[in-house]
């Protein structure tokens, strides 16, 4: 049996007529429900990201002030500045995410290919954020030095605490190859190692791979390939 597209159109039209008769809209319910109160995922993410950005900016200002105040001590200033670099990267990522979120919030009536592209780009940005967090884990001794000074007024660079700092620096260096390997795996479209695959599933690798595939499909769709 061969069915032509025009024949399908006729079938669809018949179905349309049947729906005309049987499809009902619950107007009473539609009047009762207050849809203004519904917080969509986008609005929730905007609120969350705004809060996150405010906290990060506050921390960034505090770190810069900390670096200036401890300028004579290069160890403390250096650690504060390295921490500030991570904060700046996080703020930049947040700004880029916010720009897409605001766009999605204000115009869900954009053409399908354009809007879907934005949605997938947002997913990729969120996963990249996770990737940057992975990089920062082996650098934890840097944050430790700053935190110890701020909360305990203790200088880990002083001879009294230097052994403690050294142990943490060694742990950080030991962790580095492992996290670099994981970071590289997150960039690959296909992860072959089952153990690594299971580990990365929770960190957004699946969403990133799926988002990238769909982005490629949209590009091809737009080009008519």
């Amino acid at each position: 049996m061969i069915m032509e597209l025009e024949e399908l159109k006729t079938l669809w039209s018949d179905y349309d007529k049947k729906l005309d008769k049987s499809l009902q809209l619950n107007i009473k319910l539609l009047r009762q429900v207050n849809f203004d109160k519904v917080y969509g995922k986008v609005k929730t993410l905007i609120i969350y990201k705004t809060l996150e950005m405010l906290i990060l900016i506050f921390m960034l200002i505090y770190l810069i002030k900390f670096a200036i105040n401890n300028f004579p001590a290069p160890g403390l200033t250096g650690c504060a500045l390295i921490s500030a670099v991570f904060m700046i990267a996080a703020v930049i990522s947040d700004i880029r995410q916010m720009a897409i979120l605001v766009q999605l919030r204000s115009d869900y009536s954009a053409p399908v290919s354009a809007l879907q592209k934005q949605v997938e780009k947002l997913k990729l940005l969120i996963v990249n954020y996770v990737k940057w967090s992975l990089i920062s884990i082996p650098c934890y001794p840097v944050f430790l030095v700053v935190a110890a000074k701020i909360f305990l007024n203790s200088d880990l660079w002083s001879p009294r605490h230097f052994n403690y700092l050294l142990i943490n620096l060694i742990i950080g260096i030991v962790l580095l190859p492992g996290f670099t390997y994981l970071y590289r795996q997150l960039n690959k479209p296909v992860v072959e190692n089952r153990w690594v695959k299971n580990l990365l599933t929770g960190s957004g690798w699946n969403q990133a791979a799926s988002a990238q595939t769909f982005l490629d499909e949209i590009e091809k769709f737009e080009k008519g390939e």
Partner: protein
């Protein structure tokens, strides 16, 4: 801000275009409970965008874009229960005659099977084409060129012939 008068106007628009919403949702969700969530989510999205609707553009273009964007995102998230919905005991859009689905011509069922085999974007193209939209309107909704629409429809035709030839 949305007023009561706006809401009445909105309900009128939804009432006149309920088939559009239902057909889009039905093409991306075959599960009845999931479809009801999607219908509700589409209506919420339409309501939230209603204030910004620009009357220079065709209402159906605006509705198709929002309905398709919501349906594709919902489909891709793969979730049954959506966060952007509120628990409702009754359905917003429903088929009064429960026998409609069972009464459907075997070939209409095949048509749905065929639509469901298409990827998210080609499915949107097919819905728009079957709903008798012009190539220009399809291009406007999807954000691609008219030539591209024509090429893709041609490919779908070929694909369709191959699909049904196997049956």
């Amino acid at each position: 801000m949305n007023t009561q008068q706006n809401k009445e106007q909105f309900i009128d628009i939804i009432s006149r275009n309920k088939k559009l919403i239902y057909k889009v949702c039905n093409s991306y969700c075959r599960d009845a409970a999931d479809r009801q969530d999607l219908v509700q989510e589409v209506i919420i999205r339409l309501w939230q965008a209603f204030d910004k609707y620009d009357e220079r553009y065709k209402l159906s273009t605006w509705m198709y874009r929002i309905a398709l964007n919501t349906a594709i995102s919902h489909y891709r998230s793969g979730k049954r229960r959506n966060e952007a919905t509120i628990p409702l005991t009754e359905h917003l859009i429903d088929i009064a005659d429960d026998n409609l689905e069972t009464e459907l011509d075997e070939r209409v069922k095949q048509l749905y099977t065929f639509i469901n085999q298409l990827d998210e974007l080609n499915r949107a193209l097919m819905i728009l084409y079957l709903d008798d939209n012009s190539y220009r309107e399809i291009a406007e909704v999807l954000g691609i060129t008219e030539t591209n629409v024509a090429t893709r429809i041609g490919r779908v035709k070929q694909n369709l012939k191959q699909q049904f030839a196997k049956i």
